[in-house]
Amino acid sequence: MLSPINVSLESLNLITLAPMLIPVVGALLILVIDIIKGGLDKSLYVVLSILFLALDFSALLDSAGIFSKDGIMLGVFDVMLVDGIAILAQFIIVATSILFIPLALTNKRFHEFSYPEFFALFLFMISGFQFMVASDNLILIFVGLETASLALYTLIAMHNRDKSFEAAIKYFTMGALAAGFYSFGAMVFYALTGSIEINQIATVLAANGYADIGYVLVGVVFMLASFGFKLSVVPFHTWTPDVYEGSSAAMAGYMSIVPKIAAFVVAMRIFEFLIHSGIAWLEVVLWVLVVVTMTAANVWALVQTDVKRMLAYSSVSHAGFVMAAILIGSTQSNSAMFLYWILFSFTNLGAFSMLWISRQKELPGYQKTDHSFEKFSGMIITSPMAAIIMAIFMLSLAGIPPFALFWGKIYMISSAVTGGYTVLALIMALNSAIAGYYYIKLIVYMFMKDPIVSNVDNNGKLYVANATLALKSIIGFAIIGTIFAFLAVDPLLEFITAFVYNSGY
């Protein structure tokens, strides 16, 4: 006979769950509305999602307030861990989601947005990511990761094209493999230390002085492979361009930001204590991974003929760049990572939205893929405003000052300099030059080539075919954020540094 367990409700600290539960409630409400009255317009669901995410955001603001006053919060049998980096990551996740969801309000009708389930899944996914970052329990991380990933696979498949199914299946298979690796890694760590809490693992390993270094190596390799898939680190990146190509531009842009920041935070939790424990080979492995990911992805991006695939490789390269933060492991580098990702999400939001509003339903003869470079030929003549905006996003991605990403870049490179990684800093800088080539390639097409005749005839409408007021405001928002980022960097930096530092990273 088991004795009943008595737990006081206060000790559970259920408030730590609030930010994750809000989107879940929203998702359920959307499903309930659909059951009661079907056939409602997508705008309803979009606005409902935004409202729930706004609630989520304000709950996060609350947590942030508590954190800056009382420090790290634990809850629900210490499974939940709400520290500075968890809050920062959730801010990025929720804010980016708020900005991306209005992209559903297109001019043309797209299949997936007519289902309320799309929005419900979207909200479930966000909740999953939030759980993932706000825990140091390997099992809860796994649950969050899988909730989010399964929802994401479905969202991709809902785009309802041959390529989308291919993309979803590819992503699913790779994701399943990564999940397998993850559970193996977690198992090894559990076997070594008898705990599934990362800080416990760290303590136990440190206490016995990394006696079983061979097993630690096995566990780390499994973990690295798993996060390699999630972060699309070379050589685990092969799914990325195909999946991006198959999903809608809006979804692809979303995927380049949100899942990765979640994975970065978990990677930070797992790998940083190992790096700081002075395991030399892990440093070497990470160094090689970072450099190869940055460089190889950049080289592949050079030869792409489709803008979306090019941006896919570019986002792999950006992920590699940011991975350097985990390698360097100082407060400055971790702050640089968050700063970089915030600025990156603005720029990428804009770039992918620009692709999204130019999305055609049927492709003309000269165009082999949705967003081939040829499509953008002579855009400055037919639709100058759109061309300039797109060019600014490209310049920002290339790291040309004073646009957003430049500030993230110098702070990151500076953290490499400060951390003593001179060669790495130089490689990071020179990679920007390689990357410059393919971003400039799009600018060359837009500004220096002659327009294709049919585009002149329809007066450049092609590039804004999908645009509605909502989409235009999102792009306006992104462009203002990209150009005037230098005004926001200082307050952001102070906020981020305080949060990262107080969480002990």
Binding site: I380, I381, P384, L395, I400, P401, P402, F406, W407, I410, Y411, I413, S414, V417, T418, A425, L426, A429, L430, S432, A433, G436, Y437, I440, I443, V444, F447, M448, F486, V489, D490, L493, E494, T497
Partner: protein, 516 residues
């Protein structure tokens, strides 16, 4: 208004550029000229208000941008940057005024206005990151100008120009971040302010590495041999206006940056690298002169001659004494005026004949006497004839370097004289002899629009050649401060002896005091 004159100078053209989108296509040229004229007038006012007796920075502005990382918006001018700023405003003005019929004229003029912003920004920035922002940003309008209005290989040329310079400046950026980190280690605060960096004395080994990092960025921009390969393409393909601005202003960013960053920040390293760089400069002068002699295309002749003269500027800079550096700064102005004018002149004939091959011309002096006269004046200035603007700069540069090494100066001097050969040959081929081609018989002489641009340049060329004092004096004052700073900062024996102590001038701390 004078307190913020530099910000106004920087952002007025940019604002006007944004507003330019609203102007009707037909009226855009008048708008461009008006804006550029106002800008030029403002820059003259800056000169008027400038106190030539002060050697330090004037009209300083300081706004915190990212204080937690030491990045501030700091501006200021001294005698070194003042005249390059005026030159930039001047060339943008005459560039727009003399613009010949181009497609998409509106885009061109708006681009030029943005380019003007970045140029003036580079020369007035006193914060390394702000400097870097304008430095990189200046690539974008130029990329567009070459790529959209250039010749048949324009895209290759523009992308090569962009990537080459971009790669170089990224290495420089890493150098800047290191510099800021060393400053942080020394003082405990982050700072990218150049005047703060001036106070930092680094050990020689650090200086050498940092000098090398900065050198990559600057040398590509200048461009120094062997990094010059992008320039002939850029010049060959660029439209006239692009070549003019590129030669007159953009290349000066590199040589200016040497004086602003490399010399005062790394005096020991500058002495250490003096001979290697002087050798490169002399190779540059001789080699590009020989290449220029072999060209069939008159624009390429001008382009290579312009590289050749940049070699003299570098040589003067690395004389590391007051005469040499003053001469090199003056030569920057002179080179801007003269090579800008030469590119404009090549543009004139290209508009008429749509070819730049010298074999297509001959006997033009009969057909276009006024054109031949102006071309002659500019050519004489280019080969450094006394009483022209170039002579003053070249003479002072060589005089300065003579104190460091007799042999190298002699070599450079001979090279300059030999350099006259290719220019005179080119002139002979184009202007003297009989008119051989029928197409050339009825070419119209320079028209009013072209004269508007060329006459002022000819006047400046002779005026500053005869009486350079109004420009030379402010330059000299500021250069003395730089040299004194270098002398005080240098740590090695050799550097102390190579860099003269400018006696009797109490200036070494002026610049730093004004920063705070």
């Amino acid at each position: 208004m004078l307190d913020h004159i530099l910000s106004i100078l920087i952002f007025f053209p940019a604002l006007a550029g944004v507003m330019g989108f609203m102007i009707d296509k037909g009226s855009i040229r008048a708008y461009g000229v008006a804006v550029a004229f106002v800008e030029f007038a403002l820059s003259l006012w800056l000169w008027f208000a400038f106190d030539s007796n002060v050697s330090g920075m004037q009209f300083m502005e300081n706004i915190a941008l990212i204080p937690s990382f030491g990045i501030n918006y700091i501006l200021g001018v001294d005698g070194i940057s003042l005249f390059i700023i005026i030159l930039a405003a001047f060339f943008t003005m005459i560039g727009i005024a003399s613009l010949t019929e181009t497609k998409n004229e509106k885009n061109m003029i708006i681009t030029l206005l943005f380019l003007e912003m970045t140029m003036i920004g580079v020369f007035s920035a006193l914060d390394a990151i702000v400097f870097y922002v304008f430095w990189e940003l200046s690539l974008v309008p130029m990329l567009y100008i070459i790529g959209a209005w250039g010749g048949p290989m324009r895209i290759y040329a523009s992308v090569k120009f962009f990537l080459y310079t971009f790669a170089g400046s990224l290495v420089m950026l890493v150098g800047m971040l290191f510099m800021a980190y060393f400053f942080y280690q020394a003082t405990g605060t982050w700072s990218f302010a150049i005047l703060d960096w001036y106070r930092l004395i680094l050990p020689e080994s650090f200086q050498l590495w940092l000098f090398a990092a900065f050198f990559v960025g600057f040398a590509i921009k200048v461009p120094m041999f062997p990094f010059h390969t992008w320039l002939p393409y850029a010049h060959g393909q660029a439209p006239t206006i692009g070549s003019v601005i590129l030669a007159a202003i953009l290349l000066k960013m590199g040589t200016y940056a040497f004086i602003r960053f490399s010399l005062p920040l790394f005096p020991d390293a500058s002495v250490f690298f003096m001979y290697p760089i002087a050798v490169i400069a002399i190779i540059m002068i001789i080699y590009t002169a020989m290449v220029a002699y072999a060209q069939k295309d008159v624009k390429q002749v001008v382009a290579y001659s312009s590289v050749s003269h940049m070699g003299v500027i570098i040589l003067g800079t690395f004389a590391l004494n007051v005469e040499g550096i003053t001469g090199s700064v003056f030569l920057m102005i002179a080179h801007g005026v003269v090579s800008g004018a030469l590119f404009l002149l090549v543009g004139v004939i290209y508009d008429r004949r749509h070819t730049k091959l010298m074999s297509e011309f001959g006997g033009l002096a009969h057909v276009m006497p006024r054109y031949a006269t102006i071309f002659g004046i500019m050519l004489m200035a280019s080969v450094g004839m006394p009483l022209t603007i170039n002579f003053v700069g070249e003479f002072l540069s060589l005089l300065g370097f003579y104190e460091q090494s007799h042999i190298l100066t002699l070599l450079a001097g001979i090279a300059i004289v030999v350099g006259a050969i290719y220019m005179l040959t080119a002139y002979k081929k184009m202007f003297f002899g009989e008119v051989t081609k029928d197409e050339n018989r009825n070419l119209p002489d320079v028209n009013k629009r072209e004269l508007i641009a060329l006459i002022p340049l000819a006047i400046i060329t002779i005026w500053l050649g005869v009486y350079p004092k109004p420009v030379l004096e402010p330059i000299n004052n500021s250069v003395e401060a730089v040299v004194q700073l270098m002398h005080n900062k240098s740590t090695t024996e050799e550097a102390k002896s190579r860099i003269p102590n400018v006696s009797g001038v109490v200036i070494s701390k002026t610049s730093t005091r004004e920063a705070h």
